[in-house]
């Protein structure tokens, strides 16, 4: 937990420092008063100071073996589910643009349902088809929502 908090706060510090550097490339004042860099500069500075303060507080906290042992990334039975979701999300994000919503979601739904423990093939197939072609039909035809058709086919 402590390690995770340090990583999360460190990431915030890195973001604030990067924003601070970027804001210094803009003018802090203009003829009307504060310029485009004024707000980002002060916010990034305050954010960085708070992140440093939190890092110090976390480092000075007395160690607690029970909570400190909690791993940053999941382990045990939940880990497979967690990584399956992360992996399938990343894959579908990339694939959707190329092969389109229907095909990407067909594979996504089937793969994720299997990864989450379902083994009845007819239920998997039904869910995958309804969750891809069915959902595409409902959203594009009834709700007038545009969904990607895939660069490969257009």
């Amino acid at each position: 937990m402590r390690q995770g908090r340090l990583i999360a706060t460190g990431a915030m510090l890195a973001f604030c420092l990067f924003a601070l550097w970027q804001s210094l490339l803009l003018s802090l004042t203009d003829r009307l008063g504060p310029g485009p860099g004024f707000f980002p500069f002060w916010l990034a500075l305050i954010g960085a100071a708070l992140a440093v303060a939190l890092l110090i507080v976390t480092l000075r906290e007395p160690r607690n073996p029970e909570t400190d042992a909690t791993p940053v990334l999941p382990r045990g039975p939940g880990a497979a589910r967690w990584f399956a979701i992360i992996g399938s999300l990343a894959a579908v994000t990339v694939a959707m643009e190329f092969i389109g919503f229907r095909l990407a979601m067909l594979v996504f739904n089937a793969g994720l349902v299997i990864a989450l423990g379902e083994r009845r093939w007819w239920l998997i197939a039904l869910f995958a088809v309804l969750g891809s072609f069915g959902v595409h039909y409902v959203f594009t035809t009834w709700l007038d929502v545009l969904l990607p058709d895939g660069r490969l086919w257009t």
Partner: protein, 495 residues
């Protein structure tokens, strides 16, 4: 009164009644599902409303917001699992009542109390909003800037974690709001050389990532719960409380309604805080405080009324001042802006049909919720039978569709996934993500007000202390920050 009747005329069209029904139904269903709160649902469904007429869209989104407050009660009473945060207190006595065979009475008291509180809350909105809007219309940029500052200070003070963490999240949200074009002279800034960030980080991928996707990642880590659902009554009469239970509910419902509405008006207030305060108050006032936690009617009736009144109260600062009281209303503010409606004091003059249409829909929505909730509870509870293997891909698919359809830009899907991961990491380590959304939405308005005020004063910062109102807000903000930075709060872990 005439304007309110006009609002009813707007709402009572078949189309708007349908969307009001859809909103409260979805809200109730989502409130029942553990994990998915109003924020996630509104974020996911927001893009679907883009093609809708503005009043219908806002009516539906508002219906989701107050529908969730009702739905969360069901799982709290029957399973001791709060569907959303404002129902946590309901678990304490509602579940105990259900265990004693009074599940129907507990749901009946909660439903009727919520209906009374919701309706009184909407009456409060109707009568309080016009005079408040008249007062706020006199505000200049300096008053607005200090009001926003006080609001942000209040929200960070009330957050669940330590104040430095809450302030860091506020700075993060405000920084995210500065990405894109400068609001005054359109200079591109903080795009980090990424073309997709030229228009800034959009609200929909940010909200869906931080709340929808991160919630799914959270659910994935948890063991599928061994959920035991206590049976609800099969007949409508089974929901009626006994005469003694009804007598004991009257006072708590009245007190919860008034207090909940007043708490809802405050930035950082809303349903969650209202329900906790009401529970504390009822326990203090009770002649038998030892009954609390063991099925006390007062411990159920008060908080349930307070959370619904708080939900209604939060609409007042949103509609009249354009200031969200909490993360959900911040998202609703974003929805208003996307639909071309600018909430604030001028909404009553410029778009009265939207304002009064939403208010009237809340009266009707409360009646719909009462009709929906009691007879259909048995049916709603069956939603919990959906295996997680199917629920997870369903939620993810709706999230992805929501993000893609909001802009048609594949880069937004990538942004949402990144924020899903960031949101998961931050939430897991005690950072309050609600503040991020609130600060992100308020940021551009705050920046514009500050810069306009400084431009008027030729760069003199004392302009923020020239009027009594802005000085008052500045003092409130300073006091909240000082109180929050009191040493014992520093580094306090998230509760």
């Amino acid at each position: 009164m005439e304007a309110l009747l006009g609002g009813f005329a707007t709402t009572l069209t078949p189309e708007n009644l349908f969307f009001c029904f859809v909103g409260v139904l979805l809200g109730t269903v989502v409130g029942i599902l553990p994990g998915l709160g109003p924020l996630t649902t509104i974020a996911i469904l927001l893009p679907i409303t883009f093609k809708m007429e503005v009043t219908s869209a806002i009516i539906m989104l508002s219906g989701i917001y107050y529908g969730v407050a009702y739905g969360g009660t069901v799982t709290s009473v029957l399973m001791r699992i709060p569907g959303e945060a404002s129902s946590v207190v309901t678990c304490l006595d509602g579940y105990e009542m259900a265990r004693k065979g009074r599940a129907g009475a507990a749901l009946g008291i909660a439903g009727i109390g919520s209906f009374v509180a919701g309706t009184v809350g909407v009456i409060g909105i109707s009568f309080l909003s016009p005079p408040l809007a008249e007062l706020v219309i006199k505000f200049g940029p300096a008053e607005y800037a200090m009001l926003m500052l006080a609001g942000l200070a209040m929200v960070t003070y009330m957050s669940s974690g330590s104040l430095p963490r809450a302030l860091l999240m506020a700075a993060f949200g405000l920084l995210l709001g500065t990405i894109g074009s400068d609001p005054l002279n359109m200079t591109p800034r903080l795009t980090f050389g990424i073309l997709a960030l030229g228009d800034g980080v959009n609200l929909v991928p940010l909200a869906i990532g931080l709340f929808g996707l991160s919630e799914v990642l959270f659910m994935a880590r948890q063991k599928p719960d061994d959920m035991k659902v206590l049976p609800p009554p099969s007949r409508l009469l089974g929901f009626m409380p006994s005469r003694e239970e009804a007598r004991r509910s009257v006072g708590p419902v009245a007190r919860g309604t008034v207090m909940g509405f007043l708490v809802g008006l405050l930035p950082g207030g809303g349903a969650v805080l209202a329900s906790f305060l009401s529970y504390g108050m009822e326990r203090k006032l009770s002649k038998n405080p030892e009954e609390f936690g063991k099925g006390a009617v007062e411990g159920l009736a008060g908080p349930e009324s307070a959370n619904n009144a708080g939900t209604a109260g939060a609409f007042v600062p949103l509609l009249c001042m354009g200031i969200p009281a909490n993360a959900v209303t911040a998202l609703l503010l974003g929805a208003f802006i996307i639909h071309g409606v600018t909430p604030g004091p001028t909404i009553l003059e410029r778009q009265p049909q939207v304002f009064w249409g939403v208010v009237a829909s809340m009266y009707i929505g409360n009646v719909m919720l009462l009709i929906l909730n009691l007879p259909l509870i048995g049916l709603f509870v069956r939603i919990l039978d959906i295996p997680r293997a199917y629920l997870t891909p369903m939620i993810l698919a709706v999230c992805l569709i929501g993000v893609y359809s909001s802009s048609g830009n594949p880069a937004d899907v990538v942004i949402a996934v990144i924020f899903g991961f960031v949101g998961y990491g931050l939430r897991r380590h005690g950072f309050d993500l609600g503040i991020v959304i609130l600060a992100y939405v308020l940021g551009p308005i705050f920046e514009r007000s500050v810069r306009q005020a400084l431009a008027i004063s030729d760069g003199d910062p004392t302009i923020f202390l020239h009027s009594t109102i802005s000085t008052g807000f500045a003092i409130v903000a300073a006091l909240l920050l000082i109180a929050g930075l009191w040493p014992r709060r520093l580094g306090r872990p998230t509760s």
